[in-house]
C-alpha cells in the first residue's frame, strides 16, 4: 500500500519536530510591520504537542473532515438579557459617534480631539470588556463586536486608540493577570484615566517576535527586575501610563540547571521611571491615533508585575493577539457598511448616458461584490465572537482568517466605492480617501496577512500531520484497528482515482444544497491536497511558501463559504425578510470560491505551476541581485 510507505517515511522525516519551531516563529506575529532580521531556528522551546482533537472547522479541513460543530447552525449565543443590554448600548454609542466625534478633524489634527477623548471616557468606551465590578462595562465578545462595529463605521483612528488600549494594551491583564493585578490596574484603565499600550515590536523584531532584544534581569537583591530596551511603532506609546511589555529574562531550567533567555510579559507603569517615548510617527492613515517609539532605561519592575509567569511571555502575547483578532473583523464590517452606503447613495442618484448608473451591469457587479464581501466578513466576526463566548478554545485559525479576510475585503470594498463614485470618490469631502488610508494598516499590523496565511497553513498541516501519525500507529497493529484502517483506505483509494464522493456539508438549508455539496467536495479536495503536500515535502513544507499561500487562500475561501452558507441557512430557516437576498449572496460566493479553490489546489500540484513558482523565485532573485529592475527599457535609453 503506497500511502502506508509514505506515512512511515513521513515519520522518519521527523515532520512534527521540524515543523513546530517554524510554526512557533510564525506565531510570533507582532503587532507591527515586519522587520528584516530573522533568527536561526532551534532557539525556541520544543513543543512536543500531542494531537488534541480540535473542534475548529479550519483545522479539520486539513485532514479533509468537515467538522461543523462550531459553525452550523450559525451560532447565536446572546441570552435575551444580553441582547436587551446590547440593544440599549448600540443607540447611545452610534449617537455619540455621529454627534460628538469628527473623524475628518481628528485626521487633520493627527490627534483624537480632547473633547472626544473625554466623551469616550464618560461613555465607558475604554473598558468595554472589563467586569463591571472593576469599573468596566462587562461586555462579552459578541456585545463588544457589535459596539466596535459602530466605531469602525465612524472613525478607525479612534478605533485604533481604543483597540490598542483594550484589545491588546491591557488585554493581557484581563486574560492572564492575577486577581491583585486586575484589582490594581483594571479600574484605572477601564475608566480611561490611564491609557494602556502593548509593547512587543522592536527595530529588529517584527513578525519574528521571538527575537526581541529588550531584556529584564533580576536586581542583585532579587527584589525587582531591571528592564532595558526599546520598542517601536507602539500605538498609544506616547500617551500610555500602563504598558504590557515583552522582554527576554534569564530562566534557569530546574532539571538541567542551565540558564536560557525566555520571553516574559510585564506590566510596566510609566511611573516606574526610565520610561520615555519618541515623537508621534507620521503615518499614511489612522493618523488620529498615537504611534511612537518607547524606551526603557533601567526601569525597575516589581516582581509582582510579571504577567502570566516568568518565561511565558510568548504564550501571553499570542493569547492576547489571538483573542483580539475577531474585533478587527467586526470593526471592518462597520467600515464596509460605511463605504457601501456611500457608493449606494451615489449610484442611486447619479445619472449618466441618460440612465441612473445603478442600472448598468458594471456598477451592479461592483455593488453586489461589495455586499458579498461585507456579508462574509460580518458573518465571520459574529461566528467567531459567538464561538469564543461559548467557551471555545479552537478558534485561532478562524480568527486569523477573519483578520486577513476582513482587512482585504474592506480595502477592496472601499476602493470600489471610490471607483463607483468616480472623481467624486477621489475628493476628500466624500469621506472615502481617509478611510482608504486608514484601512491600509489593517493588512499589516497584529500579524501581517502574509504571516497569518503561513500560520494558518502550517498550523493546519501540523494538525493533519498528527492525524497521519495516528493512522500510522494504527497500521502497526492492524488487527486491533481494522475499522480505522479500512475507512481511511477506502477514502484514499476513492480519491486516488479522482472519484469524490465527498458528501455535502450537513445542516444546510435545502435551498443551498448545491452550495453544501460544493463545499463538501472542496473540503475533501483540500484535505487530499494537504495530505499530498505533507507526504511529498515532509518537514520541508515549511520552506514552500508559494504552496502554503495557495493552501491558505483555499482555506480562507472555504471558511468564507461555510460562514456564508451557514448564516444564509439560518436566515432561510427563520424566514427573515432578507433571506432570499442572503441565499443569493451565499450561492454566488460558494460557486465562485469553489472555482478559485480548484485553481489554487491545482496550482499546488501542477507541473506548470511548479515551474512558474521556480521562475518567479528566480525573477525575484535577479531583481534583488541587481538591486533594481533588470530589463533594459525598450528604447535602450
Amino acid at each position: 500500500m503506497r500511502s502506508t510507505k509514505l506515512l512511515f517515511s513521513l515519520s522518519k522525516n521527523g515532520f512534527n519536530k521540524e515543523i513546530t519551531p517554524a510554526l512557533t516563529r510564525l506565531q510570533s506575529t507582532a503587532a507591527q510591520p515586519a522587520a528584516a532580521d530573522s533568527k536561526p531556528a532551534g532557539k525556541e522551546k520544543k513543543m512536543n504537542k500531542e494531537v488534541k482533537p480540535s473542534l475548529s472547522f479550519v483545522m479539520n479541513m486539513f485532514r479533509g473532515a468537515a467538522v461543523t460543530d462550531q459553525a452550523i447552525p450559525y451560532p447565536y449565543t446572546l441570552s435575551s438579557e444580553e441582547k436587551e443590554t446590547l440593544e440599549m448600548l448600540v443607540d447611545p454609542t452610534e449617537k455619540f459617534f455621529e454627534e460628538c466625534n469628527d473623524a475628518m478633524k481628528n485626521d487633520a489634527m493627527e490627534k483624537v480631539d480632547e473633547t472626544t477623548m473625554q466623551g469616550l471616557r464618560e461613555m465607558g468606551a475604554f473598558g468595554l470588556q472589563v467586569p463591571a465590578e472593576l469599573g468596566g462595562v462587562g461586555l462579552n465578545n459578541t456585545q463588544y463586536a457589535r459596539l466596535v462595529e459602530v466605531v469602525g463605521m465612524n472613525d478607525l483612528g479612534v478605533g485604533i486608540t481604543l483597540g490598542a488600549h483594550q484589545s491588546i494594551g491591557f488585554k493581557g491583564i484581563l486574560i492572564a493577570g492575577n486577581p491583585e493585578q486586575k484589582a490594581k490596574y483594571l479600574p484605572k484603565v477601564a475608566s480611561g484615566e490611564q491609557m494602556a499600550a502593548f509593547a512587543l515590536t522592536e527595530p529588529s523584531s517584527g513578525s519574528d517576535a521571538g527575537s526581541i532584544r529588550s531584556r529584564a534581569v533580576p536586581s542583585a537583591d532579587g527584589s525587582h527586575y531591571i528592564l532595558n530596551g526599546s520598542k517601536i511603532w507602539i500605538s498609544n506609546g506616547g500617551m500610555a501610563e500602563v504598558f504590557t511589555v515583552f522582554a527576554q529574562t534569564p530562566v534557569t531550567d530546574p532539571r538541567t540547571g542551565a540558564t536560557k533567555d525566555k520571553v516574559t510579559a510585564f506590566i510596566v507603569e510609566r511611573a516606574f521611571g526610565g520610561v520615555s517615548h519618541g515623537a508621534p510617527e507620521k503615518k499614511m492613515g489612522i493618523k488620529a491615533s498615537n504611534t511612537a517609539e518607547v524606551y526603557f532605561e533601567d526601569t525597575k519592575i516589581p516582581l509582582e508585575n510579571v504577567l502570566g509567569g516568568v518565561g511565558n511571555g510568548f504564550k501571553v502575547a499570542m493569547e492576547i493577539l489571538n483573542n483580539g483578532r475577531f474585533g478587527m473583523a467586526a470593526a471592518l464590517s462597520g467600515t464596509m457598511r460605511y463605504s457601501i452606503k456611500k457608493a449606494l447613495d451615489f449610484a442611486t442618484s447619479r445619472t449618466q448616458f441618460g440612465n441612473r448608473i445603478d442600472t448598468y451591469g458594471t456598477i451592479q457587479e461592483k455593488l453586489a461584490r461589495m455586499a458579498m464581501l461585507h456579508y462574509v466578513t460580518e458573518s465571520m466576526a459574529y461566528m467567531i465572537s459567538s464561538n469564543m463566548d461559548a467557551g471555545s478554545k479552537d478558534y485561532h485559525l478562524e480568527a486569523a482568517i477573519s483578520k486577513c479576510f476582513a482587512s482585504e475585503a474592506a480595502w477592496h470594498v472601499t476602493d470600489e466605492a471610490i471607483q463607483v463614485m468616480g472623481g467624486m470618490g477621489f475628493m476628500k469631502e466624500s469621506g472615502l480617501e481617509r478611510v482608504m488610508r486608514d484601512l491600509r494598516i489593517f493588512r499589516i499590523f497584529e500579524g501581517t496577512n502574509d504571516i497569518l496565511r503561513l500560520f494558518v497553513a502550517l498550523t493546519g498541516l501540523q494538525y493533519a500531520g498528527g492525524h497521519l501519525r495516528e493512522l500510522q500507529q494504527a497500521l502497526k497493529n492492524p488487527a486491533a484497528n481494522m475499522g480505522l484502517i479500512l475507512g481511511e483506505g477506502t477514502k484514499r483509494a476513492r480519491r486516488a482515482i479522482g472519484f469524490t464522493k465527498g458528501g455535502p456539508i450537513e445542516g444546510v438549508h435545502p435551498n443551498l444544497s448545491e452550495s453544501a455539496m460544493l463545499l463538501g467536495r472542496g473540503i475533501e479536495a483540500f484535505g487530499y491536497c494537504s495530505e499530498g503536500l505533507l507526504m511529498k515535502h515532509g518537514k520541508n513544507i515549511v520552506h514552500e511558501q508559494f504552496l502554503l499561500n495557495r493552501l491558505a487562500n483555499s482555506a480562507i475561501d472555504l471558511y468564507a463559504g461555510l460562514v456564508a452558507v451557514s448564516r444564509a441557512s439560518k436566515s432561510l430557516t427563520e424566514n427573515l425578510p432578507s433571506c432570499t437576498h442572503e441565499e443569493k449572496i451565499a450561492r454566488v460566493w460558494v460557486n465562485e470560491a469553489s472555482d478559485r479553490v480548484q485553481l489554487n489546489l491545482t496550482a499546488v500540484k501542477s507541473s506548470v505551476s511548479q515551474s512558474n513558482f521556480k521562475d518567479l523565485a528566480s525573477i525575484a532573485k535577479d531583481l534583488c541581485d541587481n538591486g533594481n529592475i533588470v530589463a533594459e527599457r525598450p528604447l535602450g535609453i
Partner: protein, 254 residues
C-alpha cells in the same frame, strides 16, 4: 426640603427617521422603525436629574405610557439618572388612540400616589405635537403650571421659571407642588453612558395598567385621515423687483 419629581417620557419615532404614512391613511408606519425618547422629555429628565444632583430633589421617577418597548425609554431615563421607573402598559393597538387627556389623568393619579411635588414633562411630543399634557395634568391636579420652561430655579417653596414666549423671556414664580413643561433651551441632556446603562438595569420599573389607576381610555378624538404634507412646488427666479411685484399680483398673492 427635597422633592420627589415625576417625569413623563414618551417613546416616539426617532427624530432622524423619515416618516411614512400608512397605506390605510390612519396613521404612520411604526413597525421596524427606530424609536427613541421624545427629545423634549429627555430635557425634562435631564432637568430632574440636575435637581437631584443639586440636592433639591430626593428622587426622580420616570413614567412612560406605552407598549412593552416603552420600558426601553424608561431604561434610558434610568441610565440618565432617574431612580426608578413606572411603566403604564398600553398595548400597541390602543396606543394609537391614546390622547393627552388620558396621559394627563395617568400622570395626575401617579403624582398623587407617589406624593410627588413636581411633575416635569416635555412641552410636546414630536410625534403628535399636542402640547397639552402638562397643562391638563396641572388642571386635573389643580396645581400651578409653568410651561415652556427655559430656566428653572428653586427658591423657598417656589420655583422661579423663565419661559420662552413670543416677545422674549418671561419669568414667573409658581408655588409647589407644580407642573413644568420643558422647552428646547432648558438644558442640554447628557448622553446615557454605557456604565450607567448597565447600572440602570438594576433599577426597578413598576408595571401597571391604566385601569389600576382608575383611568378609562375611552376616545374623545377620531383620526379621519393622515396625509403627507403637500410637496412644495418649485419656485422661479425673477430678474428685478418689478417683475416680482407683477408675478405676485398675477398669482393673486398681493
Amino acid at each position: 426640603m427635597s422633592l420627589r419629581v415625576l417625569v413623563g417620557c414618551k417613546r416616539v419615532i426617532d427624530y432622524a427617521v423619515k416618516i411614512r404614512v400608512r397605506p390605510d391613511k390612519l396613521g404612520v408606519v411604526t413597525d421596524g422603525v427606530k424609536h427613541s425618547m421624545n427629545p423634549f422629555d429627555e430635557i425634562a429628565i435631564e432637568e430632574a436629574v440636575r435637581l437631584k444632583e443639586k440636592k433639591i430633589a430626593k428622587e426622580v421617577v420616570a413614567v412612560s405610557c406605552g407598549p412593552t418597548q416603552a420600558q426601553e425609554t424608561i431604561r434610558t431615563a434610568l441610565a440618565m439618572g432617574a431612580d426608578r421607573g413606572i411603566h403604564v402598559e398600553i398595548p400597541a393597538k390602543e396606543m394609537e388612540k391614546l390622547e393627552p387627556l388620558h396621559v394627563s389623568k395617568i400622570l395626575a393619579k401617579l403624582a398623587e400616589q407617589e406624593q410627588a411635588e413636581l411633575v416635569i414633562v416635555g412641552k410636546q411630543a414630536i410625534d403628535d405635537d399636542s402640547n397639552a399634557t402638562a397643562q391638563m395634568t396641572a388642571a386635573l391636579l389643580d396645581w400651578p403650571q409653568a410651561t415652556f420652561a427655559s430656566k428653572l430655579e428653586k427658591t423657598d417653596g417656589e420655583l422661579e421659571v423663565t419661559r420662552e414666549v413670543d416677545g422674549g423671556l418671561e419669568t414667573i414664580k409658581v408655588k409647589l407642588p407644580a407642573v413644568v413643561s420643558s422647552d428646547l433651551r432648558l438644558n442640554e441632556p447628557r448622553y446615557a453612558t454605557l456604565p450607567n446603562i448597565m447600572k440602570a438595569k438594576k433599577k426597578k420599573i413598576a408595571k401597571m395598567k391604566p385601569s389600576d389607576l382608575g383611568v378609562n381610555l375611552a376616545s374623545h378624538l377620531e383620526v379621519i385621515e393622515v396625509v403627507d404634507p403637500p410637496t412644495r412646488e418649485a419656485g422661479i427666479k425673477v430678474e428685478d423687483v418689478d417683475t416680482l411685484v407683477t408675478k405676485l399680483k398675477d398669482s393673486g398673492r398681493i
